[in-house]
């Protein structure tokens, strides 16, 4: 940005341009991932991989009507989720965050229910798990994360002014929101509004962008002008970091830095994880119409799980046998999930009416009664 003219006349007012812009705050340094953490990353990533690959085959077998694979994004998802404390922080997923859900300890049958067309948001309890329901509108939840995060600031301030027995705003800092979005979602106006609101209110929120190269068939270079979502942070005064999204330890570290910044009350941060959507957009998609297998191979790079495995073995963090054990546990988990998903029946139709409001209306009660009479198949 250039500056022209003698001197902006409104320079006298604090915050108005002409005054030199404040330098971007630095994200605090954090400890590198420990060996135990690398092993934990591996355990989770191999589990996520197996569940994900299995889900694709379940779709082919007719167990699931559709599925949106996260193949190749295990490092980005698990690495970021491990930087959070699910007991106090809150995560806002899209429709592709199996890895985050698994790392947050969400029941996987309840998670898969969304792909089984049982319930749009999934069956898990969002309030208890601190994982918001599935969000099918791209960028739909970025603003919710900002609002939730600002709520933490308000709680902390009122605790600071009020009775001392409140936990919020303690020396441990603020609870932090993390919102997941894709390269495609970054084009939505809501993302801009969210980043601006977050910066204006200094909300403790981390914008975690999985830049996986594609929004269905549209490649990032036709989507993200300037080439990077993280680069937009500077315009809002939000510190941002771009990270190799297929390097789980690097993602963990980058997200931890962003979370530490937010937790300390310094406001929002952006992490852009450069990764690759190795599979189709969803099981109904046909990537052959817009990218060749050769391109896929070249652009995807090395498998994030293979990379982590290599490092773990090279650094002697765990043995081949221990990793094989993790793989076997993951396979068993996938099989258990398969049985759970098959056993999952449809929800009773009455829930359509009962869950609209906390206080159902008489009109809905009438409609429910009519539905029972005319359509209930029990």
């Amino acid at each position: 940005m250039q500056t022209l003219g003698t001197r902006p006349t409104t320079a006298g007012r604090a915050g108005l341009a002409g005054a030199p812009r404040e330098p971007l705050p630095e994200l605090p340094a954090v400890e590198a991932a420990t060996g135990a953490e690398l092993a934990e990353l591996y355990r989770l990533m191999t589990a996520v991989r197996q569940l994900d690959v299995a889900a694709i085959s379940w779709q082919r077998q007719g167990i699931l009507p559709a599925y949106a694979p996260e193949l190749g994004q295990e490092a980005a998802q698990v690495g970021s989720a491990l930087a959070l404390d699910p007991a106090r922080d809150f995560a806002f997923p899209t429709y592709r965050e199996l890895g985050v859900a698994r790392a947050f300890g969400v029941d996987m049958v309840e998670y898969m229910s969304t792909h089984k067309a049982t319930w749009h948001g999934g069956l898990w309890d969002a309030a208890a798990t601190h994982l918001a329901p599935i969000q099918a509108v791209v960028a739909g939840s970025v603003l919710h994360a900002v609002g939730w995060a600002h709520g933490q600031t308000l709680e902390a301030r009122s605790a600071a002014n009020g009775p001392a027995n409140s936990a919020a705003g303690s020396a441990d800092g603020l609870p932090v929101a993390i919102t997941y979005l894709g390269d495609g979602a970054s084009s939505q106006g809501d993302v801009h509004e969210a980043m601006n609101f977050a910066a204006v209110f200094k909300a403790p929120v981390v914008f975690f962008v999985q830049n996986n190269g594609w929004a269905i068939s549209v490649p990032t270079e036709k989507q993200v002008a300037g080439g990077s979502v993280a680069a937009r942070g500077a315009g809002y005064g939000i510190p941002a970091v771009q990270v190799d999204g297929n390097d789980a330890a690097a993602v963990l570290e980058a997200t931890r830095r962003a979370v530490a910044h937010a937790r300390a009350g310094h406001g929002p941060a952006i992490v852009e994880a450069m990764t690759y959507r190795r599979g189709p957009h969803a099981t109904s998609d046909d990537p052959g119409r817009y990218r060749s297998l050769d391109e896929e191979r070249e652009d995807a790079g090395a498998d994030p799980i293979a990379r982590l495995r290599e490092r773990i073995l090279a650094e002697g963090v765990a043995t081949e046998a221990a990793l094989a054990e993790a793989d076997a546990a993951a396979a068993a988990e996938a099989e258990a999930l398969r049985l759970g998903v098959i056993a999952l029946g449809p929800r009773p139709g009455a829930e359509m009416f009962d869950l609209v409001f906390q206080e159902p209306t008489d009109e809905l009660k009438r409609q429910k009664a009519a539905w029972r009479e005319e359509s209930e198949h029990e």
């Binding site: 329901p133 603003l143 609002g147 939730w148 600002h150 301030r157 409001f357």
Partner: protein, 369 residues
């Protein structure tokens, strides 16, 4: 202990145990003031609602009194305001956001329809949305484009929303308190052309004193019910004027106009009942059926364009309930299917007394063909 005070602007103490003369704007301000005082989780947010107190001054003085953290200005972005309110509700707050004018709710429609209205459902009740969105609504003030819209048909069609519009200061005070206390999202449509109209308001404190039988000249329980202070009174429609020959159904600013029309019609010996619908979703079908069951004729009046307006729903509910006794098809007197016009033409657009009288006449003179 209650007395009638004339209060020309803000500055009424919350909890005032009095019957006050207030403008709609002042009544809403008092309601918000009392809500902020009673509920530490209540928040007010929007464009210019803080320091300025809102372009209609409905939030005037609230930031100074309840703190700039509880009553705050946001950047100029309606989707942001709604999205942030949703997140605040997820964090346990009870936000009362404002969009500055009806027409600026459109940028927030995605957040309203896909998020605010569905979060409770999507989360299977785990994440309720106790959010009341205040929308200065309808036309009549010669304002710029997009400042005179009537969005009730849109909102009423959205599953997961409740929609309400007060017609006078008492309704404004009582319905806003009811809305904000609800655990579900409510769209609160304020008739902006009525902001400065005054009326008597029985406050909750006064009403409680009344029922506490303190021997003072408290409002009677009938007065209170008439004022809509009982639970039952707050969830349904309201007879604004009883009558025998025909029911005029209206909401918002059109209620006052219909009351005028009823006076004129009375001069011709036509006894018009005016039904203030109040709740536009859910609609009080029983009240419609009771009134039209008695009068056997109905005209529904609204400012919004005719086609696919809420008048169609009201008319159809009446027809469904009263087909056997109706003397004529329900008549609609509405705005036209044109964009809300500039000030010079708005009196041509909004249903005026003549057009409503013509509508009444058509119903009264209807002969089966």
């Amino acid at each position: 202990m209650s007395e009638t005070l004339t209060v020309s602007n803000n500055g009424v103490a919350p909890g005032a145990s009095a019957t006050l003369e207030l403008s709609l704007q002042g009544a809403l301000n008092l309601a918000l003031d009392e809500l902020l005082a009673e509920d530490p989780k209540a928040l007010v947010l929007g464009e210019d609602v803080g320091t300025l107190g809102g372009v209609f001054r409905v939030t005037s003085g609230l930031a100074a009194k309840h703190g700039a953290e509880r009553v705050f200005d946001t950047p100029l972005a309606e989707s942001g305001i709604l999205g942030m309110s949703i997140g605040l509700a997820m964090a346990g707050f009870h936000p009362v956001p404002e969009v500055q004018f009806d027409g600026f709710a459109y940028p927030a429609v995605n957040q309203i329809v896909c998020q605010l209205a569905r979060m409770n459902y999507r989360s299977r009740g785990a994440v309720p949305m106790p959010v009341t969105l205040r929308v200065p609504s309808f036309g009549g003030i010669r304002a710029p484009e997009h400042h005179g819209e009537s969005l009730e048909a849109l909102f009423a069609h959205v599953p997961g929303l409740k929609v309400v519009s007060p017609a006078d200061p008492q309704q404004g005070y009582s319905l806003l308190k009811a809305a904000v206390r609800m655990p579900d999202p409510v769209i609160f449509m304020e008739p902006k052309s009525r902001y400065w109209q005054k009326g008597l308001v029985v406050t909750e404190a006064a009403a409680n004193l009344g029922t506490a039988d303190d021997g003072g000249d408290a409002p009677s329980s009938a007065e209170i019910t008439g004022a809509g202070l009982t639970d039952a009174g707050l969830t349904g429609a309201r007879i604004a004027r009883p009558g025998r020959h025909l029911t005029l159904v209206a909401w918002g600013a059109m209620v006052a106009r219909c009351l005028q029309v009823a006076e004129l019609a009375a001069e011709d010996g036509i006894d018009v009942e005016v039904l203030d619908l109040r709740w536009l979703k859910p609609i009080d079908a029983d009240a419609l059926a009771t009134s039209v069951g008695k009068t056997r004729r109905a005209v529904v009046v609204h400012e919004a364009p005719r086609t696919s307006g809420l008048g169609a729903e009201v008319a159809q509910i009446i027809t469904e309930r009263c087909f056997g006794t109706l003397k004529a098809p329900v008549e609609r007197v509405t705005g036209f299917d044109v964009p809300y016009p500039s000030g010079d033409l708005e009196d041509e657009y909004i249903p005026n007394i003549d057009r409503i009288l013509f509508g009444i006449q058509r119903v009264l003179e209807y002969k089966r063909g």
